[in-house]
Symmetry: C2
Subunit: 591 residues, 2 copies
């Protein structure tokens, strides 16, 4: 009952006109072939697959859910999921950004991000199966031996197998230092892994022949806490020397969770019962290894926020255009019809523009960040790569934390446009709200993102990325100071950038004096930063219109959306500033 | 898996210490017996029923849902719902606020409100069955003939039957003028009602012997639009002269909706197929008659917001105390345990205090408004009643609109405290989020509340209630200007009250010039007003501590919560003020 059309127009505009992705990418090492034409074709192909194959089984997948068979420990995914994965693998999407020598296509991360948005909009629950594989691939690419890569990574890239990341345990969530899963030395340098992991997405399913688990566990001589965690490869089926599947390993799903949403995604309890595993990376360095994947994973979850908001927006726009109810405040606009459509109501347009402003600025922020990860990986020189790395480190908690939180608002407002009809399952929009609710929780809650931004990226790393980002905004403001098209945007943006710097300095001093101030301010600082970062992206969206060949309607919508953002959403920073300045004394102990 | 304990302490404090309910109620006509002792006992009894009977079948009712039998058109409610309704009826709760000559107990509305909070916290889905009955009773009490009251109202008051309100049709939701259900003259002054109604809560169920539908329909000679709507009584079973049940009437459920939440509540499509009905009230005055119930219904939905937020708060507080994860920023607080509890994290306390501040101020606002409805109904003189009526009219859209919207935030934050565990159905908190999502939609969306506040209560009625409320706040500020206990609260409150008045005047002028400005500002004006109204309630909560016999821990929590509210939530008004001032030009047409 819901619609979805890949937003290729805005994606292309953002990638090429706003961010100049072609110029950036073709200058990177190995990026010669990454022309606009190629990337355009990839986007279109992703759109076709998502619209035709993924989107149609989104609602049915939610209704059906995954089924768990207690006797065999098997998980059956909803109808159409297996076929979709086959089409996805055959299209080469499982290896889109993977290296060519593993069978991948070595496309840039920014293209992975753009196409992932499209797939996640089509079917977020389904998209978790390949997403987790991507994380596992990345871990093995960076930390695996060549033999491990050949045996376990290539089949995933080829779309024959999938992967998981097994971190969480009942007593160890945000605090992985508490994890208890043990790894005892076994035969031939292998280990016996024993323990229970929970919340394992794609832990068991019927989409692929084998599942490769990357598992955090403790070696016998491990130090306590987070410095005593190692990473292991644990395949569902052991793999013979020739790459064929061997006997079943002692790892199995014990249950799947009944969740608020993402019901087509199998969230498994995984029991490891002396399962055979192989150390990957150095002993006791598993957490650090896992954290090398964290940026990609968090960016990916930020994209989930965008993806859900985009689809919610499309549907609520559609509904507001078609639903006839009431009359305009200034007299009937469709007098020949029984009522005007909802679109004549300013408050309905407010809800739609809120979504659109957040969606478009979020897309720009996420693609900007993704493009920086490409520069970080393949920039021409060390200094360029370092700068990009600093920017990425700074922007990830904002991109994850703020975009996922704003997705709560966007999906909520989309449902609100539907009135009571939004609450009815068959109309489809309530699924977006339920699906969205997980994204502020997994891959680090918003509180974790906030603490990472303020505690680590600003204070520990002395704001290296922050300074670069601020400089970029200031340069942008100077460049466009006299640009009539940006009148009304540059002034506030420049003022906020200045205030952001000052507020950060003051706050850093307060945290030095009392570390509890960090926790008291972090969330509001995250939002405050996010609203300014999105304002910058929004202003860039307008600035790039000058040299764009987009239609006038597109251009007018961009200008309107940015004006709306600056007038009605950016002022939220005022509230967050007040809360930041309120300090920890206003958050006393609770009896 | 969730806990619930009726918050009698805060309810009593708010009712008696803050609002002085005993002094107000005992002076009302017929209120001599409404002493604190009596009311206390009623609250306690409600708490017992809710904790022991309603709360235990809340999660199971959600999981089980209602079942619809296509062959018989019967609805089966979840296990325990029927027994709970029996206990409820036997306890006399179905007639708590109904007149004694109908078999009711004639207790004041404010007690109905306080006990309804308790029942709704226990089980919101279940509580809709008696809630809809209450609305139907109220309609028949005001508009029915004595014979209609004897035949249809008394059995509902006695808890043998239930009632419904049948308004919405597929094409007529917020815009009831579009409704099509017809009423043709039948035998003996009856009418034949034909049409389809949707979203009918408690339209069909197995809790009671008969169901009395109050149905909006058009007489043959009805003018078009909202001035041509009449109200009819349509019983499920016709009633014989002696009050016994006669033959089945031609009204039946055609389906029940699959909803995001409130799954234990039967939301029915009701088909009227020349069903026998009886005009209630004057012809063509049905919408006006329905609107006499609107205040009570909207206040009731505001209470639903409070009820869900209260239960969500209790559970997230509990979780934060028990969940061990991570360490305090300033060093371990429970060094002997594997980790500190979540409560040591300022950001977790921020989420808890946000909920508590909203819950306590919302409770005060709702009980304050409910008490005014008692004064409106039974005040000593005309002037007193008129003042109370103006206050109620002004406060209802705030109490409904803002409290239900803030319940979205409270339930969301409660889930966030749980981390990923909050997303798992068996932990129970996600149900609160799903259940809460309907309350900003039914009985008038938040947009409708906003338009009602600004368009009708402020502009059409020239802000009669607003002026009274402002005067009260100003008098309170003067009275406590030197009160050390309120230092830090009175200054901001007085400033905001002044700004509220000025902003309202300016806005009224803008709307005069362009009616579209109303729609562009209404939502932010609603929030702006709500945050100030809650600030006033919060400050009153502190002021009343001086003469209260509450424990010091309770007092400290009240002071902390108010300080938190003023420092961290009230500044949201800044954002809403900016949005109000941005005007309609920032909400242009959307292509």
């Amino acid at each position: 009952m819901t619609i979805y059309k890949a937003p290729l127009d805005d994606q292309r505009y953002t990638l090429f006109d706003v961010l100049g992705a072609e110029a950036v990418l073709t200058k990177l090492q190995g990026g010669e072939g990454h022309t606009r034409d190629l990337l355009d074709a990839v986007l279109e192909e992703a759109g076709r697959l998502s619209e035709a194959v993924l989107a149609p089984v989104n609602a049915s997948g939610d209704e059906e859910g995954c089924r768990f068979d207690k006797a065999t420990h098997a998980v059956t995914t909803p109808k159409g999921f297996k076929e979709a994965f086959k089409a996805f693998a055959e299209g080469g999407w499982t290896g889109l950004t993977q290296a060519e020598h593993f069978g991948g296509q070595a496309l840039p991360n920014v293209m992975g991000t753009a196409t992932t948005e499209i797939f996640q909009s089509g079917n977020l629950a389904w998209s978790l199966y390949p997403l987790l594989s991507e994380g596992a691939c990345h871990a093995m690419e960076v930390h695996g031996t060549e033999a491990q890569q050949t045996t376990y990574l290539k089949p995933i890239v080829e779309g024959r197998w999938t992967g998981t990341m097994c971190l969480t345990e009942p007593q160890a969530g945000s605090d992985l230092g508490l994890l208890k899963t043990r790894a005892e030395p076994g035969e031939n340098g292998s280990y016996k892994i024993t323990g229970t992991k929970i919340f394992i997405s794609a832990g068991e399913h019927d989409l692929a022949e084998n599942i490769i688990h990357l598992v955090l566990a403790r070696l016998p001589d491990a130090p306590a806490g987070s410095r005593g965690i190692s990473m292991f490869i644990v395949p569902k089926f052991k793999v013979n020397a020739d790459g064929s599947l061997g006997e079943r390993n002692a790892v199995a799903a014990g249950a799947i969770e009944h969740k608020m949403g993402l019901r087509g995604s199998a969230t498994c309890v995984m029991n490891f019962d002396a399962a055979e595993g192989y150390l990957i990376g150095a002993p006791h360095k598993g957490l650090a290894a896992m954290f090398t994947m964290m940026n990609a994973a968090r960016l990916g979850v930020g994209v989930q926020g965008l993806a859900l908001s985009e689809r919610a927006l499309q549907n609520s726009l559609n509904y507001a255009r078609e639903r006839l109810q009431g009359r305009s405040l200034s007299g009937p606009k469709f007098p020949q019809k029984p009522a005007d459509n909802l679109m004549v109501q300013p408050d309905v347009r407010r809800m739609l523009l809120t979504q659109r402003a957040i969606v478009e600025a979020s897309r720009a922020l996420l693609l900007y960040t993704a493009l920086q990860t490409d520069v970080e990986a393949r920039g021409a020189d060390e200094a360029t790569r370092k700068q990009a790395s600093d920017l990425v480190a700074f922007l990830i908690p904002i991109a994850k934390g703020v975009v996922t939180e704003l997705a709560q608002e966007c999906t909520k407002e989309a449902l609100q446009v539907y009135g009571g009809h939004g609450y009815i399952a068959e109309n489809g929009v309530e699924q977006f709200v339920r699906d969205a609710r997980i994204i502020t929780l997994y891959e680090g809650t918003t509180g974790i993102q906030a603490a990472d931004l303020l505690g680590r990226k600003i204070l520990q790393l002395q704001g290296a990325g922050f300074k670069l980002f601020l400089q970029e905004i200031q340069a942008f403001c100077q460049q466009h100071a006299q640009d009539a098209a940006l009148a009304g945007l540059i002034g506030p943006l420049a003022r906020y950038a200045k205030e952001w710097a000052e507020l950060t300095t003051t706050l850093a001093q307060r945290v030095q004096a009392n570390p509890e101030e960090l926790g008291a301010a972090a969330m509001d600082y995250l939002y405050y930063s996010g609203y300014i970062a999105l304002a910058y992206m929004s202003a860039r969206g307008v600035a790039a219109l000058a040299n764009s060949s987009q239609q006038e309607a597109f251009k007018q919508a961009k200008r309107d959306t940015a004006a709306f953002y600056f007038a009605r959403l950016l002022p939220r920073s005022l509230t967050h500033k007040a809360a930041i300045e309120a300090g920890v004394d206003t958050i006393p102990a609770i009896a």
